[in-house]
Symmetry: C2
Subunit: 158 residues, 2 copies
DNA sequence: TATTGTTATACTCTATAACTATA
DNA sequence: TATAGTTATAGAGTATAACAATA
């Protein structure tokens, strides 16, 4: 038997009583928690609602109008190629427009439509309601602490 | 403009200075943090190392020998069908065996091999080293707090 | 009828590489 | 040469539905 850790202890009948190793790992807990949150996000936004990544993209386009696709991909931490389908969906739904900028005809600046800004405001309210309900058993302090600790992990981004 | 929240404020030159909405959402921060952790996990375990879900499955098989596939799937929170490829890989690598149990010939109890137990002990050490390094800027208290808060979210499992 | 393990299948998310049009 | 957007493609990871064997 390998080294004993604080979560394992020998009982007098030689049975090993354990908290499973996995529960010690931050990565495992992060994954399991995220599965719950994203499932509830999808349920809350409904069949025709935004997927998390589409909501995130729309959020940034509304808050940073004229962002380029490359810039948006960088902000989201995904590849440019992966962003195309997301922007396609938002454009197809009439929530943003690809526009050419004078001076560099390569770039496509993304501009939210009025419909897009309105849809985002509604979706944001729905997401806030979903998080308020799902995390009702966490205090405001706990939620702030959690976000702060996740931000410390996110400091390793890039 | 929709309602102002505490992260948005009007400045005297009419510019909206913001912490982007996304940063307020626990779900978004969870996702971004998990992406970092799982990427570092894979980097740390290397080309021929275990993927996170394979490591998790092996961990449970070692700690709960004779667990059935259905039981393991339930513990991992995935479907039985999704477990087949994971168990196939672990069996192919000689780390566990599917064994029939007397009394119910439907079930396949999963038993770690000696090689599997040893491989798990080594992988567990590698994962601990990866987390220790990646989370070196978090105190022990912070790590415990984080796991506790994630556990509160995980209380919504099932 | 219900359950275990399995297969077939599809869908989402993501990445890599290569292409085009510009710069 | 380098960059922005795009396309083609592939690989994880996961789910649903149906099947055979067994209970």
């Amino acid at each position: 038997m390998a080294s004993l850790r604080n979560t394992e202890r020998q009982t007098d009948d030689e049975t090993l009583v354990e908290t499973p190793d996995l529960e010690e790992f931050i990565g495992y807990n992060l994954k399991r928690a995220y599965v719950i949150v994203q499932a509830d996000f999808r349920r809350a936004l409904g069949e025709d609602g935004f997927a998390p990544r589409v909501f995130s993209a729309l959020s940034l386009v509304v808050q940073y109008p004229n962002v380029t696709q490359s810039g948006l991909a960088r902000m989201l931490g995904i590849e440019r190629s992966g962003l195309v389908a997301i922007v396609d969906e938002l454009e197809r739904r009439g929530l943003l427009k690809r526009t050419h900028v004078p001076g560099d005809r390569r770039v496509q600046a993304l501009v939210p439509t009025d419909k897009g800004a309105k849809a985002y405001a509604e979706a944001r309210a729905a997401v806030r309601a979903h998080e308020d309900a799902l995390f009702a058993d966490l205090s405001g302090d706990e939620k702030a602490t959690l976000i702060g600790l996740l931000a410390k992990i996110r400091a390793h981004e890039g």
